[in-house]
């Protein structure tokens, strides 16, 4: 185990790391500059649990209705040896699939552990690649694996790797609908990058047995409900761009070692209670440890990271909390209070803030002029946040 891995284990505490899946790997691309997130993810810390322990739990949750529906749709597509899926690929995408065999890789004799299932997947897929013939095979429940930041992540395309015209295609089944050929672009983006994770993993698996990377197609088949009924429809997704983004972000993980080096030696985010059920680390200590990991909060975090509420709380006084575009419009000034003071002429700009100050002063003058002309009282906004001129000193949240 490397030094970095040991340090990360220590940071996490005596629990096993949160396993990676395609979704979490894809999420690595969503805020690459956030050191806090990078370290927490690298160490495998349970971010949801951490946020809850700090008193600011994540607002995420999944409705069982959605889960049930998703499972039912997937069952439908895969029923009878994937009859529906085959029909789609044949009719809609026009793929010439004469005959297909179906292989469920979940069934390994006895009690399959992850490594066993992965070994079987590897064996079957490699054999298919070696055989070189065009017989289509649908592989259900394959278990792939990818090394991410020194840890092995087992990935289960709840989907099927399939061979056509000599290439393997990843198939993703999602339950968001495509209405008249259009689907929610954010959901499609998420599906695309998750599929790219599978493509990468599959390429690596085949590369290990000497096959070319392009044996796995850049094109992924996305299967989702069509319009308002339950009938599935298929679309082709080109994931080349997502692959380059992923490769880029995965290679950046190598720099985790540098980040970890720079941390104080004893930080620990152990969330486990002791024998008496009392948390070993009270919230204040956890907060203190987190304080050393610089975050990079932006409102988009609210949709994607379990620590969002906690980081938002810490970023209250920053213009970034109001949004990146707002921060830019405020001349790039870091703190809201600073922007207000520059605008009011109460603060002399220094060190490159002159341009921002001029911008803000003009805006302030125009706003005041308009409000006064309309006989509005000049807003008294020197109110509730006077103490936040500088970054807040750490307060206990307990």
């Amino acid at each position: 185990m490397t030094n970095t891995e040991a340090r990360l284990d220590q940071i996490r505490g005596p629990v096993p790391p949160r396993p990676h899946n395609a979704r979490t790997i894809a999420a690595l691309t969503s805020n690459p500059a956030c050191v806090r997130r990078a370290i927490l993810d690298a160490a495998g810390v349970d971010k949801a649990k951490l946020a809850a322990a700090l008193g600011l739990p994540a607002p995420f949750g999944q409705s069982r209705f959605a889960i049930t529906r998703g499972n039912a749709f997937e069952q439908q597509v895969k029923a009878n040896g994937c009859a529906e899926l085959l029909r789609l690929l044949r009719e809609q995408l026009g793929l010439p699939i004469p005959e297909v065999s179906y292989d469920d890789l979940e069934e390994v004799a006895g009690n399959p552990g992850l490594p066993m299932r992965h070994a079987r997947t590897r064996q079957l897929l490699t054999r298919a690649a070696d055989s070189g013939d065009d017989a289509g095979t649908l592989f259900d429940h394959p278990l792939l694996c990818l090394e991410v930041g020194g840890r092995l992540a087992y990935l289960e395309p709840d989907l099927i790797a399939f061979r056509l015209r000599g290439k393997f295609h990843v198939v993703e089944i999602k339950s968001f609908a495509a209405i008249d050929g259009q689907a929610d672009p954010d959901k499609v983006a998420a599906a695309a990058i998750q599929s790219a994770v599978y493509v990468l993993a599959l390429r690596q698996l085949l590369a290990d047995s000497g096959h070319a990377a392009d044996l796995v197609a850049d094109e992924v088949f996305l299967v989702c409900p069509e319009n308002f009924a339950n009938r599935p429809t298929a679309a082709v997704l080109d994931v080349r761009k997502q692959l380059t983004v992923l490769r880029r972000q995965l290679s950046r993980l190598a720099f985790i070692a540098e980040l970890v080096e720079a941390l104080p030696p004893d930080i620990c985010l152990d969330l486990e209670p002791d024998a008496a059920g009392v948390a070993r680390r009270p919230a204040a200590e956890l907060a203190g440890a987190l304080h050393v990991l610089p975050p990079r909060y932006m409102p988009e975090c609210l949709a994607s990271c379990e620590m969002c509420r906690y980081c938002r709380d810490g970023a209250r006084a920053e213009t970034a909390a109001l949004g990146r575009a707002v921060r830019e419009d405020l001349g790039g000034v870091d703190y809201v209070e600073t922007a207000l003071q520059l605008a009011a002429g109460e603060l002399t700009a220094g060190g490159g803030e002159e341009d921002a100050a001029a911008l803000l002063r003009t805006a302030e003058r125009l706003r005041l002029e308009c409000l006064q002309a309309a006989q509005f009282p000049a807003p008294d906004f020197r109110g509730s946040h006077e103490s936040l001129a500088a970054p807040q000193s750490l307060e206990t949240t307990a």
């Binding site: 999944q62 209705f65 339950s175 009924a229 909390a321 405020l330 001349g331 209070e337 922007a339």
Partner: protein, 515 residues
Amino acid sequence: MSTLTALARAQAWSAGTAQRVALVRHVHLAERPLVFVPLALAGEASAPLATMVGDDPDSPRLLVVSQPRNRDQRFAFVAELADVMVSYMEGFCSVAEEVAAGRDETRPRFVNAPQVVVPNQAAIGFVRLLGRSTRFRRTTGEFAVGPAVPVLGRWLTYLAERTEHPGSCLLLAATEALSRHWASGQSELEDLNLAALMGWIDPPPGMTGEEAAAAAEDPVLSPPAGPATDPGFDNEVLESLIEACSRADGDAAASSRAVAALERALAGQLVPTWRLVWRALELLRALPEGASVARRWEGDRDSFTGYAAYLRDTGLPQPRRDGAVAAARRLDWLERAQASYAAERAFDDPLAMAEYRMTGEAFAGLVVKAEPDRLDHSGKRRKLRPLIMVETTDPVRAEVGTVMTAVTRQGQSARVVSISADSGDAMSAENGPEDGAEPAGMVRIVLELSGGMGRSLTAAPGSVPEVGEWLCYSSLTADYQRPWEFPPAEETPWTHGGPPQPYVPADEDAVEEWS
């Protein structure tokens, strides 16, 4: 999005309460709007679960689907909703006026039009999807639905499409309407939550905006405005109530108890949002209406009149996707509407105009010199072309030769003759602005005026700005421009795939498969 609104957000954050970003109201508010708060079942494209709808804040109508996956119940729900909505909308189809329509003709236009108000942009998406899922249904055949269902579908689709038109107010999202007039102290993303946004604009007594917004994020204290329900509510409350309804199927007494329990729970999720939407309307109503709002509402009424007539006559459902010509035509129309809406807002509202003053496309200042009798001898005939010099501290970026209009003198155009900073005694000093970013210096702009002064070589009294008058000039125009011409759809050129297949209502439109 600009420094002005960003600064307002910063000020809101500091003050603990939202700040105004508009001095007038830019949306029309109907006297009797229909508020529609839908809830959808998670996991499906548009599976209605419940709704609170009505035009009277004190008597909302609650409609619930007790077994959301049951097709018959779903369409019964839609039929009931149609009952409320279609009759509301058709209620405006009785009184019309005659309006000039070029040369000696007139055309009818309803004196009023419906206005449907939903909580947020996601609800507009729901309206669009519900419209799509119902407008192709048939009233006969194997999958027949009640007659009002496809009609509702067409109306809903019409309303949702109309929201793409900048300045249209037939279907309003409360969050959007509020954001146009107030800046909260949180981010735009957080403003999508109606309760949080209202927390900033209208905080309960004793709470700051931030505290009220934080309370609004707790789904127990403040149920989400929808259409998505809170997953916690789904898992802990809704699931068992729905199950109870389906178990009680067949037993009338148990069934009505189960349904009543479900209705109570869903009402609990809907009522807070219902109240918030009406309160939002109250807050908006308190703002003075902008001068061009009535004209845009006339456009909405024209559109409504036209669509009502179309429904009566042919009533075909809107096609799934636009054809090539329809798409191009619509894009042209939307681009024009956007430009004219932006210009109208700026003319109506000094705060909106201030955004253009920040970027230098507009400026405001005092007239310091005027030559009202100046004549232009360059052409065949002499023309009256007064000159004025306006002094301003705004960061002007206009170029010489730009044609501008004053907000208070829209019938007159002004061409920029020269711009000079901190020097320039004569009217013809010609220099670029020395340093555009610094507003501290005075900038003097000389403008040549034409139009709006009468026909003679002497200006009508008052038609030329006088020394000491405060004017605001901008290069925006809200003038009507004729739309481009496009070939008819039957002549779609080969470059765009040739003429489209004519629409033949197919069986598969009405077919469905249910889980």
